[in-house]
């Protein structure tokens, strides 16, 4: 055995093993969105589900992101065929009501689905407290770099994307993020 050569060969194998070990600590599907920190893509979409109570808008109204300057906005992309969207629905509805008075606006964006099926789904789920918008031809979804549904975006008061959440979101996660956003922006005009 020539130990010097053997050691050299082993030394060459170490980086490969290191890279693979690093790979094990990563999730290839967790792709970091480049959007947070950037201005949120603008949109002007029409309401198809009005929402409830104080939050309600008229069906057919156009919602523009630009009209919400100075407000925290939560955008939730969903679809009636999306099974995971059922898990987060109750939490979203409750949080939307809770934070309405603090100036937070929630909007659902229907992704790759049809209006009538969206409406039926909302009915089946026992209502949705905030308005949902139609996104014809998924253009807004593509603007937001959507990978699938559900995904939730938080737009801060200065109109930037603050967070992106992939998969079903819980009430706790929602309030944590909203509280910190409201705090951050408290001093801002």
């Amino acid at each position: 055995m020539n130990w010097k050569r053997a050691t050299t060969a082993v030394a060459m194998a170490i980086p490969v093993i290191g890279i693979l070990a690093f790979g094990l600590t990563r999730d290839p599907k967790a792709i970091v969105s480049p959007l947070p920190g950037k201005p949120a893509p603008s949109f002007a979409l029409s309401v198809f589900a009005p929402g409830e109570g104080a939050t309600a808008l008229n069906v057919g109204d156009t919602v523009r992101l630009a009209d919400h300057a100075g407000q925290v906005v939560v955008l939730n992309f969903w679809a009636s065929w999306c099974l995971q969207c059922r898990d987060e629905h109750r939490d979203l509805s409750a949080t939307a009501t809770e934070y309405f008075d603090k100036g937070v606006r929630f909007y659902g964006l229907l992704y790759n689905d049809q209006e009538s099926f969206g409406l039926r789904w909302i009915q089946e789920m026992g209502g949705q407290t905030y308005p949902s918008l139609l996104d014809p031809r998924t253009r807004t979804a593509i603007d937001y770099g959507l990978y699938g549904v559900p995904e939730t975006f938080f737009v801060s008061r200065d109109g930037r994307v603050a967070y992106k959440h992939i998969g079903p979101i819980s009430q706790r996660q929602l309030s944590q993020k909203l509280d910190s956003l409201l705090r951050d922006g408290a001093g801002a005009p």
Binding site: K29, I31, V32, S33, P34, L35, K38, P41, A79, S80, W81, N112, D113, Q114, F117, P136, R137, T138, R139, A141, I142, D143, Y144, G145, L146, Y147, G148
Partner: protein, 140 residues
Amino acid sequence: MSHSWALALVLLFATGAEAQVGSAIPSMPARSDSALEATTTMLASELRCPVCQGNSIQDSPSELAQEMRSVIRDQLRAGRTPDEVRAYFVDKYGEWILLAPKAEGFNLVVYLVPILAIVVGGVVVVRTVRRSTTGPAQGA
């Protein structure tokens, strides 16, 4: 097995499909402009489909990929250059969406290592042949 569930799924998907059917007409290729189509196809083959992980949006049968192709087409039609279209998608989805990494910075490694392998290997082959050649043992 629960057939009703299968049927429910059919209906659920019919939904998505219908939504797409309704919107499929504008995404039909504009037959007049074959150069536009060629550029669209080229760009679509370079971009990774977000919902299917492996395929390009050119190859993917998913609805999102279909819409992304039409986004490319629309942007090209509006006068954007292929680089600007690429930049748009990188802006939205990150570098991840490019199926061939941009040949700059650290990414050069992935382009240079194979070339380096050929060069180094070529030198080794030449040296091996030189060193091992003893001349013909007998005439041919």
